[in-house]
Symmetry: C2
């Protein structure tokens, strides 16, 4: 393949028009949507309206007049089709960590006679910390973390909850969610998936997979903005029995009745808690509008095409400089980011960023590149690899100015 | 007093210049800052910059370059002086309900051999729901709710935690926080105050009161915007022993090391959890700048002057129409809102709103009016009471168009 062929693929792609909704800075190849999705001008406009008109002029009347009170449900209805759920199975609120806490505690309480929360030892750090916190909080609870390949073998009648991140934040390796969910159910466990690196990028069908609970972030492939609210999925069949540990008023069946007793709302809304973050929810609502015109079936295809092209070009152009592929080679085992190994990962990433190609680093020696299917093009993949190649070929990645440490990567 | 005297008080007031930082809509007397504080143009400008420049152009680099990673600490340093705390005693994150959950669970774990969480039966509904959820979650925990006046008498060696809202959301009644905290300590309990209706309006000094933990919202008298992040206070003397039940990565001692074990951060930062909501935090950061030029000692004085004027005018102008005072008559027992009773509270409130005087209703028969000390003037109080008087005098409050029910009040 050459660059013209890559450009031709972009022209033919059914998702190509979506890029027009985003504002990617001039001269930038943005391959870090797996960390923070790009901005859409529609989000800017919506925030301006929410702040200046709804807050500034409407003031507290906007809880009714501008629909703020029902914004969590409005955003839930947008997320539901992206994960194969019904709107009343989704609650949009809080952070992924807080939602994971609520989901895993609720799941654990469905199996009071079992003690183990089973996870993958490579699960995202915040997820592991949340689980450790739960084990410390709830007597008779133990976290067992095993290698990703050994989760199925560890299942047994002591396992209350299996919780995994569908796409590994580091390697991009994707679990077979349908198979693991079925195996966990066969062993009598409740399953909680973290979809942070999945939704909006790979095939997700929670109903088809028969998942019990799930959580996910919205600031990666859903482009909701830095720290935008997370979502929690609770399958309808569990609605009557699930209890959120954080019983706040927005999770009440009738929040504005101000009654003395807590009666949980029907559906996933019972996992709402405090007053919703309206500015962030409105930004997310606007960010999700782009999906209305997207053929969801085309998304995983596009992701695989982009990541496969990157893998092919890494092999062809970078392997000779000591760059190794650290993600699965089989496209069906990968999410939407690809990780490569290189002894000078930090300096190479910073040199690439200076040249307009933005990815990130997982110290000490991994670089990650994310291929957000709505705005990354085949030519971006091509150009990014050429930039990396040129930096490696002339040794300029190793200049002193690129050796500084970054604090957040 | 007449209107000219009210205007003269405004001219003489040391807090008068603060109103210039706010944009109150033309023709509106906004007396609902106890629900949602007003907008400052500085917040609009900051959000524009955060969205368009930091997110849109800086993209994920802004976690370093724009200081997003340390925004919780930056905002904490702004809130600390408003509550008599040190910056490292404040964590700004999540909603008030989630923070109350974390604070009360952490407090309860300091007294494992005691079973009771003691509260006021009139405490804010979401607070009561959160406590009920904790009792359901943690074996051997019971919530005891007594009348506000009976809290002290109920203290005993079974009480692990006393948690109260400093200023009652309904009546505006203010607890004597110093005395109750001392009494609870004498009985061996840990104290958690909810300052949602206090901070920015009345005297709060957590160090002086020797409080253990506290939470509060920022969208009332701190004007952070709808659903802006809450804060949690943890006294330094407890830092080494307090554990948050929600152990997320931003509460880790070294969040970006991605280590396998959870090591809590020093100070109140251990109560941070997931990725911070950057848009909301930035809005709050900008909203709090106004306090840099405020003489904090003048705030409670201003609040008392405004609420006392309102009480005086209610007595003089509205009592004859069946309006009753439902807040404490003694200024030192009140927060910054005043509640009045009237058989047609809903229609009267809606008629007043239509006439530009915005308060709110607590069904069936209470109207609340909040006197945010940074932007409500003595003339606003005067004008509001005159509007209410005129609506009552000519009976126009009782028109059919004002009898519709509102869903959120």
């Amino acid at each position: 393949m050459d660059r013209d062929e890559a450009a031709a693929l972009d022209v033919a792609d059914p998702l190509a028009p979506a890029r027009g909704a985003f504002r990617i800075p001039e001269g930038v190849v943005y391959l870090n949507g797996n960390s923070l999705g790009a901005l859409q001008p529609a989000v800017e406009e919506r925030l301006r309206r929410v702040v200046t008109d709804e807050w500034g002029t409407g003031l507290k009347r906007s809880w009714n007049d501008a629909g703020w009170a029902h914004l969590p449900q409005r955003v839930a209805a947008r997320i539901a089709p992206l994960v194969g759920a019904e709107p009343h199975e989704i609650a949009v609120t809080d952070s992924t960590s807080v939602d994971l806490f609520k989901a895993v505690v609720a799941a654990r309480r469905l199996r009071p006679d079992r003690r183990v929360i089973l996870t993958d030892e490579r699960n995202f750090p915040s997820d592991r910390y949340v689980l450790a916190g739960i084990a410390e909080l709830l007597p008779g609870t133990e976290v067992v973390a095993v290698a990703a390949d050994e989760v199925e073998a560890r299942l047994g009648d002591d396992v209350a909850v299996v919780t995994l991140t569908h796409v590994d934040y580091r390697s991009g390796r994707m679990h077979d969610a349908a198979r693991l969910t079925a195996a966990a159910h066969d062993a009598g466990a409740v399953v909680v998936w973290d979809l942070s690196h999945s939704t909006g990028a790979v095939h997700v069908d929670l109903a088809d997979w028969h998942v019990d609970l799930a959580v996910g972030c919205t600031y990666k492939y859903l482009n909701g903005g830095p720290g935008s609210p997370a979502y929690l999925y609770a399958a309808e069949r569990h609605h009557d029995t699930l209890r959120s540990p954080v019983a706040g008023w927005f999770g009440h069946a009738d929040p504005f009745a101000f009654g003395p007793e807590y009666t949980p709302a029907a559906g996933a809304d019972r996992f709402l808690a405090g007053t919703p973050p309206i500015l962030s929810l409105a930004a997310l609502d606007a960010a999700l509008e782009v999906w209305e015109d997207v053929d969801l079936a085309a998304v995983p295809h596009r992701t695989r095409a982009l990541t496969s092209l990157f893998v092919e070009l890494v092999d062809a152009r970078l392997a000779g400089y000591g760059v190794t592929l650290e993600s699965p080679r089989a496209a069906e085992l990968r999410g939407a980011h690809v990780t490569i190994g290189f002894g000078g990962a930090g300096p190479l990433s910073r040199a690439a960023t200076a040249a307009g190609v933005i990815g990130d680093v997982r110290p000490p020696d991994l670089l990650r590149f994310g291929f957000s299917p709505l705005y990354v093009r085949h030519v971006d993949v091509w150009d990014a690899v050429e930039v990396l190649h040129d930096l490696l070929a002339d040794g300029s990645w190793d200049e002193p100015r690129f050796r500084a440490t970054e604090t957040v990567s």
